[in-house]
C-alpha cells in the first residue's frame, strides 16, 4: 500500500523495477481544496442518519491547526444497542441480505469501490483535514488501496467455497461457509478509510452485517463512505456506523450479548480489554490487529542507498503512525556509522508542513495526546543515553507537528527500543552476528512485521524464516498487497486480515453430514 508513496518519495532509487508500483505520479495529483465541506456528522444506522440518543456530540479537530472542524454525534451504549438491533434484523433468516446471491454481494462491493473512486479527490481532502496526513499520500495511497481492497473482496463473494468431505462410512459430508452474523468492528485513526475498507470488504463479501465504531479523532471519511454504502444499494442495517469513544461505544460493542464477532485494530492495551470483554460476555469471536515494535535488519552486504531509503520510509511514513512501523532499525556493525550518517541526511530532507501542500512529506501527529506522548518518548530516549542525531523537537508553533527524529546508539533495554512510539522517531541499533540479531529482534512481546535487507539469498531466507512475525519483507518495507495476509504473532494480534486468510475470521464453517444408503467412490 505504502509502496506508491515510497516510490514517489525516492527519486534516487533505480527507477525501472519500481515503475509498476508507481501508478500515481505527482503530476496526476489534483490540487486539493483545503476546506472540503463536511456532509455527514451523525450516526449511520439502518441506512439513515441519527443523532445520538443522548444528543451528545464531540468535536473533531484539524490536527494541523488544533481547530475544531465540526461537532459529530457521540454514539453511546444506547446507540450501539440500536445499531445492533438493525444489524440483527438485516441478518434474520429470509432477509434481503441473507437471500441475496453471493455474486450480487460482489456486485454491490464493486459498486462501492466505483463510488469511492468517483469521489477519490473529496475523500482524500476530508481524510487530510481530519487526520493530517499529506493529501498527496491520502490521494495516491490510502484511497486507491481502499478501492483495491473493496474490489478484491468483491471477487471473493462467490468464490468462498465449502468442500465435500470424503468421510468414512455410508455418509455424505459437505461444509458450508456461512457468515458469522453481526460483526462489531472498531477501527483506528491512522488509516481511517483504509482500515474501514479492510473491515468492510471481507465481512460483507462473506455476508455478515456490521456495527462499526470509527475513531473519535477521525470519523468524517467513514461517515461519508456510509452515504456511499446506502447509495450503491446495500440493504438497510447491513452496515451501521457509530462515531464515539472507546470506553463507551467501543466497550458496548465488545461486551454486547448480541454481537457475534469483534474485530479490532488499535493498541495492544485496548486489545487486552476487548478480548476480556468478549470472554466475559458471550464468547464472541475475536480478531485483533495490534501494535508492533518491528525490527528492520540491515546486513552489511545490503545495497546501502536502498536500505537507507527503505528504513527511512519504514519509520517515517504516515508520521510514524503505523502499526507496522520499522521502529527498531538493526544495522550491522561494519556499516553502522555510515548508515546512521546517511539516515540523518535523509531525515533532513523530509519536508514537514501543511499537509495540503503537495511538497509536504510529513504532516502533524493526529492529536494532542499522541503529540505529548511522542515528545515524552523522545525525552526518555535522551535521558536513557541514546544519542539524538537529528530532530527531537516540535516542528511548528501550532498544530501537532514533530520534527523527524533520529536516535543512534540505542540499546535494547531502553524504553524507545521496547515500546511503540507511534511517531516520527527512528531508533538505530548496532549488531554483530546474524544469530545475535535474530535473538534480539525476536526478544519482544510484539510480532507484527519485520524486514531484512541483504543481497545474499541464503541469509535472506534464513533470517526471514527465523523471525517471529506475521509479515516479513525482504529488501522492501511496508509492501501491502490486498491479496496477502497481514496480522500479528504474539501480542501483536490474533487472526489475519487481507487475502483469502482474511475471510476465515468472518466465516462459520458448517459441516453437514447425510446418511446415505450406500457409498461409492
Amino acid at each position: 500500500m505504502l509502496r506508491a508513496a515510497l516510490t514517489r518519495a525516492c527519486p534516487l532509487l533505480p527507477a525501472a523495477p519500481r515503475l509498476a508500483a508507481c501508478r500515481y505520479s505527482a503530476a496526476a495529483i489534483p490540487a486539493p481544496n483545503p476546506q472540503p465541506d463536511v456532509h455527514y456528522n451523525k450516526l449511520f444506522i439502518n441506512n439513515e442518519w441519527h443523532d445520538a440518543l443522548s444528543k451528545k456530540t464531540f468535536p473533531t479537530i484539524n490536527p494541523s491547526t488544533g481547530e475544531v472542524i465540526c461537532e459529530v454525534a457521540e454514539g453511546d451504549k444506547a446507540d450501539v444497542d440500536k445499531a445492533v438491533k438493525a444489524a440483527r434484523d438485516a441478518f434474520r433468516l429470509g432477509s434481503p441480505w441473507r437471500r441475496m446471491d453471493a455474486s450480487r454481494r460482489g456486485v454491490l462491493l464493486n459498486r462501492l469501490a466505483d463510488a469511492v473512486e468517483r469521489d477519490a479527490g473529496y475523500l482524500a481532502e476530508l481524510e487530510t483535514l481530519d487526520n493530517g496526513k499529506p493529501f498527496s499520500v491520502a490521494y495516491s495511497v490510502d484511497v486507491p488501496m481502499v478501492v483495491k481492497c473493496l474490489r478484491y473482496y468483491a471477487g471473493w463473494a462467490d468464490k468462498w467455497e465449502g468442500k465435500t468431505v470424503p468421510i468414512d462410512g455410508d455418509f455424505f459430508c459437505y461444509t458450508r461457509h456461512e457468515p458469522v452474523g453481526v460483526c462489531g468492528q472498531i477501527i483506528p485513526w491512522n488509516f481511517p478509510l483504509l482500515m474501514q475498507a479492510w473491515k468492510l470488504g471481507p465481512a460483507l463479501a462473506t455476508g455478515n452485517t456490521i456495527v462499526m465504531k470509527v475513531a473519535e479523532q477521525t470519523p468524517l471519511t467513514a461517515l461519508y463512505v456510509a452515504s456511499l454504502i446506502k447509495e450503491v444499494g446495500f440493504p438497510p442495517g447491513v452496515v451501521n456506523i457509530i462515531s464515539g469513544l472507546g470506553h463507551t461505544a467501543g466497550a458496548a460493542i465488545s461486551s454486547h450479548m448480541d454481537v457475534d464477532k469483534i474485530a479490532f485494530t488499535g493498541s495492544t492495551e485496548v486489545g487486552h480489554i476487548i478480548q476480556q470483554a468478549a470472554g466475559a460476555s458471550n464468547l464472541k469471536k475475536v480478531t485483533l490487529e495490534l501494535g508492533g515494535k518491528s525490527p528492520n535488519i540491515i546486513l552489511s552486504d545490503a545495497n546501502m542507498e536502498e536500505a537507507v531509503e527503505q528504513a527511512h520510509m519504514a519509520i517515517f511514513f504516515n508520521m510514524g503512525q503505523c502499526c507496522s512501523a520499522g521502529s527498531r532499525t538493526y544495522v550491522q556493525e561494519s556499516i553502522y556509522n555510515e548508515f546512521v550518517e546517511r539516515s540523518v541526511e535523509r531525515a533532513k530532507k523530509r519536508v514537514v508542513g501543511n499537509p495540503f501542500d503537495l511538497k509536504t512529506d510529513q504532516g502533524p501527529q493526529v492529536d494532542d495526546e499522541q503529540f505529548k506522548k511522542i515528545l515524552g518518548y523522545i525525552s526518555s530516549g535522551k535521558k536513557e543515553g541514546a544519542k539524538l542525531m537529528y530532530g527531537g523537537g516540535v516542528a511548528a508553533d501550532r498544530g501537532y507537528f514533530i520534527q523527524p527524529t533520529v536516535f543512534g546508539e540505542v540499546q535494547d533495554d531502553m524504553k524507545i527500543a521496547r515500546e511503540e512510539i507511534f511517531g516520527p522517531v527512528m531508533q538505530i541499533l548496532k549488531f554483530k552476528t546474524i544469530e545475535e540479531v535474530i535473538e534480539r529482534a525476536n526478544d519482544t512481546n510484539y510480532g507484527l512485521a519485520a524486514a531484512v535487507c541483504t543481497t545474499d539469498i541464503n541469509k535472506a531466507h534464513y533470517i526471514s524464516n527465523s523471525l517471529r512475525a506475521g509479515t516479513v519483507w525482504i529488501n522492501c518495507y511496508n509492501v501491502f498487497g490486498v491479496q496477502a495476509p497481514f496480522g500479528g504473532y504474539k501480542a501483536s494480534g490474533t487472526g489475519r486480515e487481507m487475502g483469502e486468510y482474511g475471510l476465515e475470521a468472518y466465516t462459520e464453517v458448517k459441516t453437514v453430514t447425510t446418511k446415505i444408503p450406500q457409498k461409492n467412490s
Binding site: A20, P96, R99, Y152, G155, K159, E161, I434
Partner: protein
C-alpha cells in the same frame, strides 16, 4: 444458463412490474472483419461468409472468412502479446481483473444490441438472449474478473533444507473453437478464464454465428486490453479450425462442439505440438423422474431440458426416463405443456420457440423424427416442420421410446423429447449410464436417499436434482467419457488455463557474515 435468467434475490421482487426489454433495430452490422491485434482485417484470400437470419432466411451481411494464413497472423499477434516483458505479461493481476470487469460493463451497456444481434443470427427468442445468454455472459466475465488475483500458488514443506513454492503461470497462446448454439456465452466461457489466468487467445466463432463475437471484439479493444491479447477469426472448421488445432505456435486448444470434431482436434493436437486440449462435446443426457417426485415440477423442468434453445443444447434432456407408475400421467402432462409452447418470430416477446439454426440441422432432426416413427416410438405431438417456409420444427414428443432406437442413442440437437419407461432404480441407473456420453443428468425425487444414491451413481459431469439446466459461473461443467475432457467454469476451469511451476531453492545454513 436457464437459471441465470431468474431475477436476483434482493432486487425488486416482482419481475412482472419491470418493463420487458425490447429488441432494437439493427440496420447495419458494424463489425464484419477479422479482429487481430485490436485491428480489423480483411481475410488474406479475400473470401467472405454470408450470414443468414434463420427465422427469415434473409441474408444479414457478409463476414470476412479466416483461413490458415489469417490464423497464422492471429497467432503471431497473440505470441507477441504474450512475449516476456510485454504490457500484458507485466500487468498486475488485479489489472487483468479490472479489464474483465470493464468488459462486463460494456456488455451490460450494449446488452440490448447484443441480445438483438444474437437473436437475428441464431434464431433464439430475444428475451432468452437478453435474460439468459447476456446475463450468463456478463456474470461469467465478472466471476473470472474476481479470480484474477486469487489464483494462489503454494509453499510446500519439502524434506531437507530446501524451500519450495509453486507459481501458477499462464499456458500461453490459447486457441478456442466455439459453436453456434450459444455464440456469445461460449465466447465468454472461453475468453474469461483464459484472460483471467493471463493467457492470450485466438478464437474462432462458428461460421454460422460470428456477429456477437465480433462486436465484443470492439468492446475488448474499448475496455483497454492490449493489442493481440484476444484475436477473433471467424471461419470454417476444416480450414481455420483445423489450422488452430494443428498450429505449432498455439499452446492449448479448447473446443466446444460435436464428438466427431472433438476427436479430430485431439488428434491434431497430438500430431502437432502436444498442445493441451479441453473438450466440451455432445451428450445424450438422462433425466430420471421417480414416482415420488413433484410431477408438475418434473414435467416443466424436463421440458425445459428438451425444448430450451430449440433443443440445441449439449445438455439437452434427450432421454427422459419415467417410473412406470407415473409414466402415463407424465406423458399426458408433457403433451399438454408442449402444446402451449409459442413458436414464431424470435423478436416477438411472446415467442419461446424459434427456428433451428440451418437447413442441415433442420433436415437431420426431421430425419431422426422419421426414424422414430419408423422404429415404433409413439408420436404424441409435433413431428413436423412448423411452416412451409423457414426452419421451424414443432416441439415433438415421442413416448414408448426404446433404448435401442436411434432416437435414444443419437444426439438429436432439436426439439424432440423422448420419453422412456422404467421400473426400478437399479435398472434406470444401468440404462442411463449405458452410453458413451457423460455430460449431464438429472434426477427428480423427494427422497433424500434416492437423490444421493442416484446422483452418485450417474456417470456424468453434472447432475441436477429436482432442476434442469441449472448452470452457474461458480460451478464446474464438463463431461465424463466421450462428452469431453476437462472442466469449464468455476475454480476448476483455472486449472485448464495455467501451468504450475515448482521452484525449489537450496537453503544453505553456512552463512558468512
Amino acid at each position: 444458463m436457464a437459471q441465470n435468467g431468474t431475477p436476483e434475490n434482493g432486487v425488486p421482487a416482482d419481475p412482472a412490474a419491470l418493463p420487458l426489454p425490447q429488441p432494437c433495430r439493427i440496420t447495419d452490422i458494424k463489425h464484419t472483419k477479422l479482429f487481430i491485434n485490436n485491428e480489423w482485417h480483411s481475410s488474406a484470400k479475400g473470401k467472405t461468409i454470408p450470414i443468414f437470419n434463420p427465422a427469415t432466411g434473409d441474408k444479414i451481411c457478409e463476414v470476412e472468412e479466416a483461413d490458415k494464413a489469417d490464423v497464422d497472423v492471429a497467432v503471431e499477434a497473440a505470441r507477441a502479446a504474450m512475449k516476456r516483458g510485454s504490457a500484458w505479461r507485466r500487468m498486475d493481476v488485479s489489472g487483468r481483473g479490472r479489464l474483465l470487469h470493464k468488459l462486463a460493463e460494456l456488455l451490460e451497456r450494449d446488452r440490448t444490441l447484443l441480445a438483438t444481434m444474437e437473436s437475428m443470427d441464431s434464431g433464439k427468442p430475444f428475451l432468452q438472449s437478453f435474460f439468459i445468454d447476456l446475463e450468463g455472459s456478463i456474470k461469467t466475465l465478472r466471476y473470472y474478473a474476481g479470480w484474477a488475483d486469487k489464483i494462489h500458488g503454494k509453499t510446500m514443506p519439502v524434506d531437507d533444507n530446501f524451500m519450495c513454492f509453486t507459481k501458477h503461470e499462464p499456458v500461453g497462446v490459447c486457441g478456442a473453437i466455439i459453436p453456434w448454439n450459444f455464440p456469445l456465452l461460449m465466447f465468454t466461457w472461453k475468453i474469461a478464464p483464459a484472460l483471467c489466468c493471463g493467457n492470450t487467445v485466438v478464437i474462432k466463432p462458428s461460421e454460422l454465428t460470428p456477429l456477437t463475437a465480433l462486436h465484443v471484439g470492439a468492446l475488448i479493444k474499448e475496455a483497454g486490453f492490449p493489442p493481440g491479447v484476444v484475436n477473433i477469426v471467424p471461419g470454417f472448421g476444416p480450414t481455420s479450425g483445423a489450422a488452430i488445432a494443428s498450429h505449432m505456435g498455439i499452446d492449448k486448444v479448447a473446443f466446444t462442439g460435436s464428438v466427431e470434431v472433438g476427436q479430430l482436434i485431439k488428434e491434431a493436437a497430438a500430431k502437432s505440438n502436444l498442445k493441451r486440449v479441453t473438450l466440451e462435446l455432445g451428450g445424450k443426457n438422462p433425466c430420471i423422474v421417480f414416482g415420488d417426485s413433484d410431477l408438475q415440477l418434473a414435467v416443466q423442468e424436463a421440458q425445459k431440458g428438451a425444448f430450451y434453445n430449440q433443443g440445441q443444447c449439449c445438455t439437452a434432456a434427450s432421454r427422459v426416463f419415467v417410473e412406470e407408475r407415473v409414466y402415463d400421467e407424465f406423458v399426458r402432462l408433457s403433451v399438454e405443456s408442449a402444446k402451449k409452447i409459442v413458436a414464431g418470430d424470435p423478436m416477438d416477446p411472446r415467442t419461446s420457440h424459434g427456428p433451428q439454426i440451418n437447413q442441415q440441422q433442420f433436415e437431420k432432426i426431421l430425419d431422426l423424427v422419421e426414424s422414430g416413427k419408423r422404429e415404433g416410438a409413439k408420436l404424441e405431438c409435433g413431428g413436423h416442420a412448423l411452416q412451409d417456409k423457414g426452419l421451424f420444427i414443432q416441439p415433438t414428443i415421442f413416448s414408448d421410446v426404446k433404448d435401442h432406437m436411434r432416437l435414444a442413442k443419437e444426439e438429436i440437437f432439436g426439439p424432440v423429447q423422448c420419453i422412456m419407461k422404467f421400473k426400478s432404480q437399479e435398472e434406470v441407473i444401468e440404462r442411463a449410464n449405458s452410453t458413451h456420453y457423460g455430460l449431464a443428468a438429472a434426477v427428480f425425487t423427494r427422497s433424500v436417499d434416492r437423490a444421493m444414491s442416484v446422483s452418485s451413481a450417474l456417470e456424468a459431469g453434472t447432475v441436477w436434482v429436482n432442476c434442469y439446466n441449472a448452470l452457474h459461473a461458480q460451478a464446474p461443467f464438463g463431461g465424463y467419457k466421450m462428452s469431453g475432457n476437462g472442466r469449464e467454469l468455476g475454480e476448476y476451469a483455472l486449472a485448464e488455463y495455467t501451468e504450475v511451476k515448482a521452484v525449489t531453492i537450496k537453503l544453505s545454513e553456512q552463512l558468512t557474515l
